[in-house]
Symmetry: C2
């Protein structure tokens, strides 16, 4: 096998109470990538469609993670990467993570899987760091492992796969506005009230338990963020309106996807997830801001090979 085509999924990080540690994987949104073994040594980005991204390997997220892996192996050939980008950069649903994992996942397949998924995440972290200026794995882990993941620590990298109920769907609205990462970081407090921190870890512990036990009521009761949302939600127009309406529409919860501007919600069942989509649409239709909305089952497999 000299060439492989893969689907690299979009992901939602933070997941309300799980800031900086929790994430989940989407099914219906993601990039396609082709990875090809070539005679010429090194890593080359040979094609990019969808969005304008740099072709220079060292300046491209997929290139940087590919290089991290390439430098860890000793082969007399190289790889070409084609990127068919569908996840808009800066949307808050793991666009850079999808690129970062895509190249290393594909290369690993072509090499006969010398690396496990945690090792692939280590390489992908280097690519992610190019985009987000820090080494984190909250989008990488769910993209590679699928389902819900909890990144217990980055050094050493420890990723936990949290099970989830079968009938869990996400609805995500992406308002076409830009939130600078620096701005999303600047609004975060350095210190937080101990009482709020306790509420947050109580919710995260409960969410992990609710996912393990498929307890939708508990998932609903735990999808709350008292630490980050009060600050970052101000950067997203109509955030409170969207949240109120999707909860009225039957969603289990809603919060900021990653550092925004996308807003995700989780629902039991596809029908509710679609009702939630209509509720989101109604709020944003009168806003004058362009947006798109995705409905997706939780993708428990993660990144995959396609024909």
């Amino acid at each position: 096998m000299n060439e492989i085509k893969i689907f690299s999924p979009a992901t939602v990080a933070n997941v309300a109470c799980g800031f900086d540690v929790l994430g989940f994987c989407l099914d219906s949104v993601g990039d396609d990538m082709v990875i090809r073994k070539v005679d010429k040594k090194g890593i080359r980005i040979s094609r990019i469609e969808g969005f304008e991204l740099p072709y220079e390997t060292e300046k491209n997220v997929a290139g940087v993670s590919a290089l991290a892996m390439y430098n860890a192996i000793d082969v007399d050939f190289g790889f070409e990467i084609e990127i068919y980008k569908r996840i808009k950069p800066g949307s808050g649903i793991g666009s850079s993570a999808a690129s970062a994992v895509g190249s290393v996942f594909g290369m690993n397949e072509l090499l006969g899987r010398p690396f496990n998924k945690t090792q692939l995440t280590e390489f992908a972290i280097k690519g992610e760091a190019l985009a987000s200026k820090c080494e984190h794995a909250d989008n990488l882990a769910p993209a590679l492992f699928g389902g819900f993941t909890l990144v217990k620590s980055v050094v050493p990298l420890k990723i936990l796969e949290i099970p989830c109920p079968n009938d869990l769907y996400a609805t995500i609205i992406h308002p076409q506005i830009e939130i600078k990462t620096s701005e999303a970081r600047a609004v975060l407090p350095k210190e937080v009230p101990l009482a709020d921190a306790i509420t947050q870890w109580s919710n995260l512990g409960s969410l992990v338990h609710g996912l393990h036990t498929s307890d939708y009521d508990l998932i609903k009761d735990s999808l709350k963020d008292v630490i980050i949302e009060p600050h970052r939600s101000k950067l997203i127009p109509f955030y409170n309106e969207v949240k109120n309406e999707v909860l009225k529409a039957g969603a289990l919860g809603a919060s900021i996807s990653g550092s925004g501007p996308s807003i995700f919600s989780l629902s039991k069942g596809l029908e509710t997830a679609k009702t939630v989509k209509e509720a989101m649409k109604t709020v944003y239709a009168k806003s004058g801001i362009d947006f798109d909305i995705h409905v997706s089952k939780i993708n428990t497999k993660g990144i995959k090979i396609i024909d």
Copy 2:
């Protein structure tokens, strides 16, 4: 049935990363109590052995929780309570919680179980508040439900039962010193660094996952407290020495039990728990401070009727 004898277990609250929400139940340490239906209406404490505690119903933890339940029912008889106290008040292993749950559990049995365990906890909270000046359930919940519990919220009261591996044992040392609750509270910061809070909730999420999956390595890796321990451990003589030695002896982790002064550790298997006991003993033997040490399997049943 007019009389019932019960064993009301000691408990460990906070459990390293689970400050204010997590707790577990002990098997080998606890109070005995006798609850008796009597003709005379009202609640009367008729006997107290072991430690000096007030006989006035309104000043006794077991009496106050009993009254809370008694006021919620309409019966033409009363109850007598005998307390055979073995858990030293102020030891940090849920002495007041054992008293508070004992009376209401016993009365509920004699009444034919009109209340569920969450409702019993609600009554017991009133007794616990007498002792600790605040309404909390971190010791009450594990005493009533057994095993590990996560108190997701107090208002409304929501208690989650977290499963745990079969072979999990606790070793607890109780140095015979007094730490005033007010002092244990005063050393806590009102605000904590966001980065530390993230570490704490990552550990709590991981601990819940580790308990669900019986992953001892993960339990070990998660039994860490970066928020409370740095402050409260200073109040406990030889805390760091004990912790270092029990970890060397093979314990999965160690931390402050409740607000101290007891220190608990968790181990895989009885043999390791006993080795940990010797390690604790060695540290404290040369301290000049009296102490006692308990080794106990995790009690997954909680409070129970005895002959």
